[in-house]
């Protein structure tokens, strides 16, 4: 029996095993993502240690309200993504489609808020070259934004497939993997927000 849960359909595979492997692969990938951002976090701590005043000054230029708003937006999107996975696990088609769409909507909100943050900064001449704080700021939030965009494409794909009824109780691995990726994007922001905006 060739379950659609098997990623490449190259050979017959036990669907449960395929599902477990698929998920483990994603976890391993997420570990590399943590290290990618971890290098930047290490740079953040060292530069902050060397130039505390530059960081204090730079951080005071950031809008805590917008940063906090985006934190909540991502938390809600994580919740709706978890609900989407739950719906897929239970085979609830409508709820799955609805929650994927809500997640996409929140992701879009995040980008809009980010635009309102970056836009005025850049037009006031605050760029990655302004000082070491803003180098770190634009690099970390920029790389994070890239992850948001990748996550949105992933969720968009899931949505298109969910509309065709691809996911059900026996096959929800794809949704779960998309969820894992999206939650990591949330977790990274959970750290970026206090480090850049609050302290």
């Amino acid at each position: 029996m060739s379950e659609p849960g098997t990623f490449f359909h190259l050979h017959e595979e036990d669907p449960v095993e395929a599902y477990e492997n698929f998920k483990l692969g994603m976890w391993i990938f997420l570990a590399t993502e943590v290290l990618l951002f971890g290098g930047l976090f290490a740079a953040y701590f060292i530069f902050k240690f060397i130039w505390p005043t530059v960081f204090e000054d730079g951080s005071s230029h950031l809008n805590k309200f917008m940063g906090g708003l985006n934190t909540l937006v991502l938390i809600f999107s994580s919740f709706s993504m978890a609900m989407a996975v739950d719906a897929a696990q239970r085979g609830q088609q409508k709820k799955l489609v609805r929650n994927l769409a809500i997640t996409l909507f929140f992701a879009l909100c995040f980008i809009v808020v980010k635009g309102f943050e970056w836009g005025p900064k850049l037009s006031h001449g605050i760029t990655p070259g302004s000082d070491v704080f803003f180098s770190v700021y634009y690099m970390t939030t920029g790389l994070h934004l890239l992850h948001v965009l990748v996550g949105m494409s992933f969720i968009g794909l899931l949505l298109a497939r969910a509309l065709k009824g691809r996911y059900h109780e026996e096959n929800f691995g794809g949704v779960e993997i998309g969820g894992l990726y999206w939650h990591l994007v949330d977790i990274i922001w959970i750290f970026l927000f206090p480090l850049l905006y609050l302290i």
Partner: protein
């Protein structure tokens, strides 16, 4: 294998409680940041973020129901990260202060390291290497064959025939804007109002300001591209606009006596 179920179905109430906890913790961390607890602000912020991240991993990502091999891949990047950050801080924390190229040298530490200074000519002014270098170029111009001179001869000749007052006439930057910029960009190596670090070799601003050879024109070129004036200098090329440079040199001139 087929009796082994795929995934784990979690109660809705758990998801909902986690959502509420995440919102509550976000609000809490913002509120805590409004009060100044010094280093504890950082620790609290990191602790709260770690709790939030754990909730997401355990309940939204179903980490709670994952097997050991998955958990191995959750811990492994964290251990590597802790090693990286730990090693960096050991390095920075225990370096010989005098050896810092760029770093957090306290004012006191600077004086101590000068007493025990073994490189360059020791003197009372603090900036050892620079002072000895300036003394050379004041005596003769032969150092053109040795260490590259910070002054180009043309500027030097020009400075000699122009009285110090005149050459500052056309400089109308904003002193306060200059001071503010200096506090951000220069303070890591030059003392500003007695604050920051005095990097060995970086002359105090007062010394530059009272040296009539350091014309505004020279300072403009210097700030724009120190390497072009003195290849190999430790003074970095900083991201400055022309307006920043005017403000900075106006501010520097306030040190002139």
């Amino acid at each position: 294998m087929s009796e082994h179920k795929m995934g784990h179905i979690q109660e809705f109430s758990i998801y909902f409680k986690v959502l509420l906890a995440l919102i509550g913790l976000t609000i809490a961390t913002v509120l805590v940041s409004l009060v100044d607890f010094g280093i504890f602000n950082t620790l609290v912020a990191l602790l709260v973020a770690a709790i939030k991240a754990s909730l997401v991993v355990l309940y939204f990502m179903h980490g709670k129901y994952e097997d050991r091999i998955t958990w191995a891949f959750i811990y492994y990047p964290l251990i590597l990260l802790a090693t990286l950050v730990g090693a960096l801080f050991l390095d920075y924390g225990f370096r010989d202060k005098g050896q810092f190229t760029v770093g957090p040298i306290s004012f006191d530490a600077m004086h101590q390291s000068h007493d025990a200074d073994s490189h360059g000519a020791t003197d009372d002014h603090g900036a050892t290497t620079h002072d000895s270098h300036n003394a050379d170029s004041a005596d003769t111009h032969t150092d053109a064959h040795g260490e590259p001179s910070i002054m180009d001869p043309a500027t030097e000749a020009h400075a000699a025939e122009t009285p110090a007052v005149d050459m500052w006439e056309g400089v109308h930057g904003d002193v306060e804007a200059g001071r503010a910029k200096a506090k951000v960009l220069c303070i890591a190596c030059h003392l500003i109002d007695g604050e920051g670090n005095a990097l060995p070799g970086a002359p105090p601003f007062a010394e530059t300001a009272n040296n009539t050879e350091k014309t505004p024109e020279f300072l403009r070129t210097w700030l724009k591209a120190p390497q072009s004036v003195k290849p190999g200098t430790l003074m970095p090329q900083l991201p400055l606009t022309d307006a920043d440079i005017e403000n900075l040199i106006t501010y520097l001139h306030t040190y002139a006596e």
